[in-house]
Symmetry: C2
Subunit: 589 residues, 2 copies
């Protein structure tokens, strides 16, 4: 196929679009792949659509290869199944709701667990029908609070979602592994740098859960990897290994100390080292217990205060906290809200006024490191005063633990305890997890087992975002001059530039392009005549990012054309007669 | 590819679904192609999706072949462009509207004229960029008042919509013809009976307009074809050839006659023949002028009465009337509304009280046959009284003409005037028309012409409904035992039934199926063992409707399998070794 720049529906832009926050967005707009219609809502222009379709095709092939069967659900969905599972409410503002002319409630499907579950319930009834894997590649909708970064967080987007259905846990484990291997093949074929990390399963429920992240500095997800073992996890999913409980027989009774003007950990530590120095070692932030107040916003709109205790050398990571609590949303407690709880003395909040049984009644969860016997300096709930030798389990008992403290470069690996963790950022492109029986139970999906007994089916859930994926791959592969696609998803195999004004240049280029097309290659051919200079054509080629750029120009006098690798910049002069054969070799490897 | 019935995600049903109104809907559900989720909203199961994709692929290939370029717009669209063209209001209740979390208004796109116009405005600016043809295959939404007949009138459906952009009318004409030819190739390839008819362009504006209808008795559209020339038109688009104005110097003055108890045309004609017989010929219904009252419902919700005068031997066809008035909706005037207009005497309404200048102020439009000089018996606006010798243009002057009278078998062909019209029913599957400059003007799509002058672009609009098409093709091709697909869109090439319990049957079938798959054929293989009888398998094969059914069974004792043509029922016994080769021949023609 030949895409002629003279008629291809594309216009490249010299300037960055105003609303582009990340390089991939900037370049996808500038190179004419997408256009924005509304926040988080985009049009796919021909070049963009070609990339999207290639991503989808690779996914489809690998899904079919593991025997998953494609179907397609509507996006416009009736409310009832989502009410049955509670998600009509749980999604809060995050879904688009609408009514038809008769006043019936609908939503635009954000995910289709309910529909998959119900269609299997409709069609199947026996263990003999299982295992089953079905999938769709379909447009989904989420009313994101902050659509951003172009396709990376859109409100209308394409998803491949598949589900496995098994009669027992061993079956689910096998289905999960089959999908995991298919995902690895998909991501390998797509041809960019990705990492598989442990994940939380968020609002979906379920147990084992892994994400496939595109490595990218602008990614919204932070993951950590161990320097020693193969542990890698989304920070939201990192589970700290708690220390063993400590003996505290020798610890003196907790006692309040005057600590004027010490509302921060830093001022507190300075004060302690100046006025209450220890003999063995100086006070450090890690000796203090910091109690952070947040507000939970439940999907039904109600709010609830929550106190989180973490060692003073750590902060509460709201995303990590949010990851544990989905679909509940979390925000820091502001001054106004703080005033509703007179027991809280800002800068000096201690466990004395926290906990469901306390005067404040505010639930109090602590970092898993705060185990029984650990000893802390913490607020005395009086301005200018802290309590020293406060022992967990003796002097205070939290309502539970939660993974909310930030994870940092250099933290101990919770898996091997030998290496340390290193953090990096990525874009979530795929997510697989063992969903279990949550939806099957809510919607009554049961089959008869070998003994004629009804058993609830267990499900796996496996998603990839092809539209986000296009941006993620772009983000992972672009460079300072433009997009730079992996061969498998590039909008064409070769970009031929006719660089010159001579008839001969266009004639030679035309012949080459024709031959490449006959050989089954997809070619972008910059056949623009007139005022478009070779310089403009080269810049456009580099911006558009097809892996191989061919220049038919000055070298023609010597019977040669130039083949350039877009990524490495390596150039090679080839006899014009040998060019087609050489290009087929380059493209097909 | 091999689709094994033992694992294919399908369940055939013995009984018709309760809500199925037409044969295609009944069979598509029973054969496991689709499932309903809400009124007019369907899930495509694997077999259905395969047919849909084949229809889409044929469309895509022929669109690409005429140089149309594929892109993809979102379904979730901001209100503003639709406000600019007035359609936000015009669509009335027929579109789904929704708001996002910030209260911004959106619609689910019912068609994308605005988006196509704006994207060309965004990218292009010169006559050199034109002609351009762009298209998408995408999911659309309409909140139909009466979703019906399964996929035939859905609320979520797939459309291929393309638009051409030209600098002048000659360009549009050429683009239109190019699309028309592509459509003919598409419909020929799809392989069912269709007809191309003149059409109205409805709410879209524009001039030349043709529809591609699938012939089907259950179709919502009625079209007529001439017995003599190649004229064919949707009845909505039939333009009656008005007679020449008649001389009326000799016609006596209009005079009222007592016609007690003649509220209907039939009673009136009887009365006239009994009490006021004519010498030359008896009175007929066609001598009378029937005045029918309807109510127009404008998109903004306001109502307006309208009177339509038609010869008494014809009825007002509300669909035909509606076709002229879109997006205004039309309904018969009921008794309650009638009472709001005291001048109207039911059964005796005449032009005396009709017209914008009359006492009632009700707009009065007449059939084009009611030309100047024609002579009528019509209501005297007094119970039991009619006016005779009422001459159009002398005794009454309507506000205008409108095509609202019904069109009937045997009517004169308005094209050749030699043949007569014959009516039949069809399902609209495609619609092409010359849209003109309506959208370009509303949204300011202009380009510089050769002389550097800004000119408004002229557009063509070309739609095909692939999802409705699946049902239309099914409807056109099915028979009393099931679906019966044209080869080009069948979910598989061959349906192989292993009919028997012997190992040998399954072994031979397996070998045949494997060979067919290696030859590139798609095969449904009914490999179900156990309790599924050959009879059940045959019934399923006939219901599913793959064009070629192969039975591996009893004949195997003689080394033969049976090949059956699903449509004709013709059977052929073939040596098992020769079966694959023969089937490839049958399939590939």
């Amino acid at each position: 196929m030949i895409l002629r720049m003279s008629s291809l529906f594309v216009r490249t832009l010299r300037d960055d679009p105003n609303d582009a926050e990340v390089p991939s967005h900037r370049l996808l707009v500038r190179a004419g792949y997408i256009r924005r219609n509304a926040p988080g809502v985009y049009t796919w222009l021909p070049l963009g659509l070609r990339v999207l379709r290639k991503v989808e095709s690779i996914i489809r092939e690998e899904m079919d290869a593991i025997g998953a069967q494609e179907l397609s659900f509507p996006a416009l969905l009736p409310k009832e199944p989502y009410e049955a599972t509670g998600r009509w409410t749980e999604y809060g503002d995050n879904i688009f709701r609408l009514q038809d002319r008769k006043g019936a409630d609908y939503l635009l499907g954000p995910t289709h667990e309910e529909m998959f579950t119900l269609v299997v319930k409709d069609l199947y009834s026996s263990y003999k029908d299982l295992p089953l894997a079905i999938y769709q590649i379909q447009t989904k909708y989420r009313d994101e609070a902050r659509p951003r970064a172009g396709l990376l967080r859109g409100r209308e987007f394409v998803m491949k979602d598949s589900y496995s259905f098994d009669v027992d846990d061993a079956g689910l484990e096998a289905s999960y592994q089959r999908h995991r291997e298919a995902y690895i093949r998909i991501f390998d074929r797509l041809g960019f740098e990705y990492v598989i990390v442990k994940a939380t399963s968020g609002a979906m429920g379920g147990s084992a859960s892994e994400e496939f992240l595109a490595k990218a500095a602008v990614g919204e997800d932070t993951y950590v990897a161990c320097t020693h073992c193969d542990y890698a996890a989304n920070v939201e999913a990192v589970a700290v290994r708690p220390p063993a409980p400590a003996a505290y027989d020798d610890v003196p009774a907790a006692h309040a100390e005057e600590t004027p003007d010490t509302p921060t950990i830093e001022t507190l530590v300075d004060h302690l080292n100046e006025h209450l120095p220890r003999e063995d070692r100086p006070w450090e932030a890690g000796d203090t217990l910091k109690n952070v107040l947040v507000v939970l916003r439940h999907p039904d709109g109600t709010k609830e205060p929550l106190a989180i205790g973490v060692p003073g050398d750590r902060d509460v990571d709201l995303r990590r906290l949010g990851g544990q609590l989905e679909p509940i949303e979390v925000e820091a407690m502001d001054e106004t809200e703080m005033k509703n709880h007179p027991a809280l003395v800002k800068g000096y909040i201690g466990p004395g006024v926290l906990g469901e049984q306390s005067t404040s009644g505010i639930r109090f969860l602590v970092d898993p490191r705060i185990v029984e016997g650990t000893r802390w300096v913490t607020g005395a709930d009086v301005a200018g005063s802290h309590v020293v030798d406060m022992v967990a389990g003796r002097d205070f008992t939290p309502d539970g633990t939660i993974e909310a403290a930030d994870v940092r470069d250099g933290d101990e690996c919770p898996n091997c305890q030998e290496g340390t963790l290193t953090a990096a950022r990525g874009i979530e492109m795929g997510h697989i997890f063992q969903l279990g029986r949550k939806y099957a139970e809510a919607l009554g999906l049961q089959v008869l087992d070998e003994n004629g007994k009804l058993v609830t089916v267990t499900m796996g859930s496996y998603g990839i975002g092809p539209s986000r994926g296009v941006a993620a791959i772009a983000e992972n592969t672009l460079d300072e001059i433009g997009l730079c696609w992996p061969r498998a998803v590039a909008p064409a195999d070769v970009h031929v530039v006719a660089a010159g004004k001579d008839e001969a240049v266009f004639a030679a280029a035309e012949e080459l392009v024709g031959e490449l097309s006959r050989q089954g290659l997809d070619v972008i051919y910059d056949d623009r005549a007139g005022k478009v200079s070779p310089g403009v054509k080269f810049k456009d080629a580099e911006l558009i990012g097809v892996p191989t750029i061919v220049t038919v120009g000055r070298g023609l006098a010597d019977g040669e054309v130039e083949i350039k690798d877009r990524r490495t910049g390596e150039r090679e002069d080839v006899a014009v007669d040998a060019a087609a054969a050489r290009l087929v070799e380059v493209v097909r490897g």
